[in-house]
Amino acid sequence: MKMPGFNWRRIVVVAALLAFWEAAVKISGVSPIMVPPLESVIGSLIGGIRDFTLISSTWATLKNLLIAMGIGLVIAVALNMLAFVSIWARETLQTLAAALNPLPAIALLPVAFLWFGAGDASLLFVLVNSVVWAMALNIFTGFSTVPVTLRNVGRIMGLKGMALFRHVYVPAALPYIYTGIKISWAFGWRTVIAAELVFGATASSNGGLGWRIFVNRFNLDSEGTFAGLLTIVIIGLLIEAGFQQVERCTIQRWGMADK
């Protein structure tokens, strides 16, 4: 299957950039501690995969983010269900989301420290914050823009309450729900790396990718640091491509993607 957004020009550009990196390091004679040559970064990357440390760091990061996104989704849906029944809940949701959405979740780190100490709970608190508001807002928009005709068709079929919700509201709002998840992922992915830089040591047995690049730098292992950065970029790109693929098979196929 063809990867979305992937073509031969892109490959040429990537190759050129990597060649430039390698050449610049070789020609300028910069210290390999400042900018390690590409080959040693790749070597470190492969070494990290071989001895499994890079893989377990990556998994630790992804796991944290997935857990946070799961919690965030549950909270966002619950808030929206409340907003569905009560106008006060709706106002609260919109106010909270409007206030907290623009606040970079990482700025909550000091507060998280204060409340939960240095540990998994703090990390989760920050991460959930980074994902939940974009989800909640998008889901809210999705539910409130379900076309009247579709709602009426559902009611004619005798659907009420949860059944109407499940068979009409949720699928009709899918483009927005999906956007919410995509934006949350983008926020969360940036936040999790940053949070791990700070929390990694204490958060769990494995500090994740953020902690890994921090430790590598501390040990003057620049290859490891750059290999970590490269991993972050590659995972990010892969996930984005995955999102596009899902979009193709669902909302694009259904002609609902232009919403």
Partner: protein, 258 residues
């Protein structure tokens, strides 16, 4: 005489616009027999669509009541299925056949296999045999309406309500969908209530033509139509003329109702 299927008794409909009450329909009483095809004909603003919404159960009348099979109507239900004018009444996330199968399963609790064969049969009947697995957004407006009609008939509703379903179609497609409506109606002979602003459409599809006027919306006169399922019969000219004159008398120009 057939059993009464639907009775409207002194139905009045009001809307609140700003601080003002706006009377959409005033004191409409109708008796509709089981299996009858009733056309609600009138200009924009005569309240024909509002009347349909009340029968469907989407709206409560300000006065009077509607009874279906003796029971007072309080909410929408599959026994009064509606085909809307909007093309986007199909679930876009379901295929053509998926839309019909889902509808059958949600309303009749049939097993999937049975629902699927039933849906296939009805879709074939309206000429959609080659489009089972198409998604609605890939279909033309006329085809979407075909699916919507098939979906409505698939649940075999006691009453089918059609709210200007062909108004946004070109003349040729409209004519062929009118034929389709006749064809399907003949099989089950369910009650059909059809809103239109076209005299031709009313004459072709209706056993009874309820001519409505506006300011306020009300029934001007109910005509029996012996010319259903025929087009441009010379004998229908007199009836056509009467309806047109009636509508014109309601300060509506003939052009406005076609």
């Amino acid at each position: 005489m057939n059993a009464t299927s639907l009775s409207l008794d002194g139905v009045g409909i009001r809307y609140r616009i700003g601080a003002k009450d706006f009377v959409a329909v005033e004191n409409v009483s109708l008796e509709i027999a089981q299996g009858e095809r009733v056309m609600l004909l009138g200009p924009s603003g005569c309240g024909k669509s509002s009347l349909l919404k009340v029968i469907a159960g989407f709206q409560k009348p300000a006065s009077g009541e509607v009874r279906s099979d003796g029971r007072k109507i309080t909410e929408p239900g599959p026994d009064r299925f509606v085909v809307f004018q909007e093309f986007d009444q199909l679930f876009p996330w379901k295929t053509v056949i998926g839309n019909v199968v889902d509808c059958i399963r949600l309303t009749r609790k049939l097993p999937r296999a049975e629902a699927t064969s039933r849906a296939a049969k009805i879709l074939e009947m309206v000429g959609l045999a080659d489009y089972f697995n198409f998604y609605p957004h890939t279909l033309s407006g006329g085809m979407k309406q075909r699916v919507a009609i098939a979906r409505a008939w698939s649940v075999d509703p006691a009453i089918l309500l059609m709210d200007e379903p062909f108004a946004a179609l070109d003349a040729q497609t409209r004519a062929s969908l009118q034929d389709e409506t006749v064809k399907i109606w003949r099989r089950a002979r369910r009650t059909l209530i059809f809103v239109t602003h076209s005299i031709d459409e009313a004459l072709y599809l209706g056993d009874k033509i309820v001519v409505m006027g506006r300011s306020p919306g009300r029934v001007l006169r109910v005509f029996d139509n012996p010319f259903a399922e025929t087009r441009d019969q010379p004998e229908s000219a007199e009836l056509r003329h009467q309806i047109r004159a009636l509508l014109a008398g309601n300060q509506v120009t003939a052009e406005e109702v076609q």
